[in-house]
Symmetry: C2
Subunit: 202 residues, 2 copies
């Protein structure tokens, strides 16, 4: 497993053009989404919502909202990750249900009090978006494990995406767009800084 | 591989207390860090830096900065993920070197111009922190694959962490702390919303 997972990480690369005629099976799509679902999240709040787009029309419209990046329109499926906002308010039923699940019984009241303090001190949409990146990473890993290529897309006009997908900005922030499919190009050589440049052992 | 990776995701859980007498081998630690290193990042900028803490004294001091959460002091190793800030400035040598690697030759000048526009429009520390969460997810997945437990810790007093680790806030934002080790408690039953609550097929 040790070596196989490393190969999965090596295999994953940002695909810049997909084979547009490839469909992603529902089983493969569900597998990828399941990896997102199983991800860890701050307070166990599953800050994400996944919008799946597969129609040519939707993908083309999204491509226009993403500075016309061709991997968007050519992908087999797009998963638009929305970061919850309104549902994370301390008085929201969603928040209270998930917090009670994570902190059951006597732990709930102090956890909610603690969360209220946290909520008041944090940039809620920005925090929610960070959590969505954890789910995104795991979905890309899962895709790579089953031979599906991906591209994470952070470059988009948020207002255009919201309009296209009819997203209420008080409820959701667009965190990022993941494109999945079969890459049209050969994978590039992976370039990374050496560990010695990234890691400091104290 | 399909089923094995899912088991890795299922196996990973937020460990709230580690067996304090367990050491993490350098090979296992490097494996985990390598998964972080191979992660995708916006513009290929590898926004992360990994500080590794293994001494009892450092872990105890970090625990105090993390609201005394016992998984911090009991972990075998802590990886503090720092999000780059100053090095992402369009005029910074780091930025220009990595952008030139990602966009070589004639692609570099327009990429830098594009990046300048992006940089001016984005909350740079917040954006850098999002990217660190991708590396964090992959490090936790890698740990799970080799039987190492983990806990992501977003709850800390940033100023206390900065002071403890002598971090210049103009250069780095503390993104999150990952604790690694062998869990002292049995894993809890994983609780997640069903896919039908999370996914919307458009």
């Amino acid at each position: 497993m040790r070596q196989q997972l490393l190969e999965i990480f090596h295999r994953r690369h940002a695909c810049h053009l997909f084979q547009a005629d490839q469909a992603l099976s529902r089983a493969d799509l569900d597998y990828i989404l399941e990896a997102g679902r199983l991800s860890p999240s701050s307070f166990g709040l599953e800050q994400w919502k996944f919008l799946v787009l597969t129609s040519a029309q939707d993908k083309q419209a999204m491509q226009e909202a993403c500075f016309n990046q061709p991997q968007v329109g050519s992908a087999s499926a797009l998963v638009v990750i929305l970061a919850k906002i309104a549902e994370l308010h301390p008085d929201a039923p969603y928040l209270q249900a998930l917090l009670a699940r994570e902190y059951p019984g006597a732990a709930y009241a102090p956890a909610l009090a603690n969360y209220r303090g946290f909520y008041g001190a944090v940039d809620v949409p920005a925090w929610s978006v960070t959590q969505c990146h954890i789910a995104a990473a795991n979905m890309m890993t899962a895709a790579s494990a089953i031979g599906i290529d991906s591209c994470p897309i952070g470059g988009f006009v948020a207002e255009a995406v919201r309009q296209q997908l009819d997203i209420d900005p008080s409820r959701h922030e667009v965190a990022l767009v993941l494109a999945f499919g079969v890459c049209a190009d050969a994978p590039p050589t992976k370039q990374r800084l050496p560990l010695s440049d990234l890691v400091e052992h104290r």
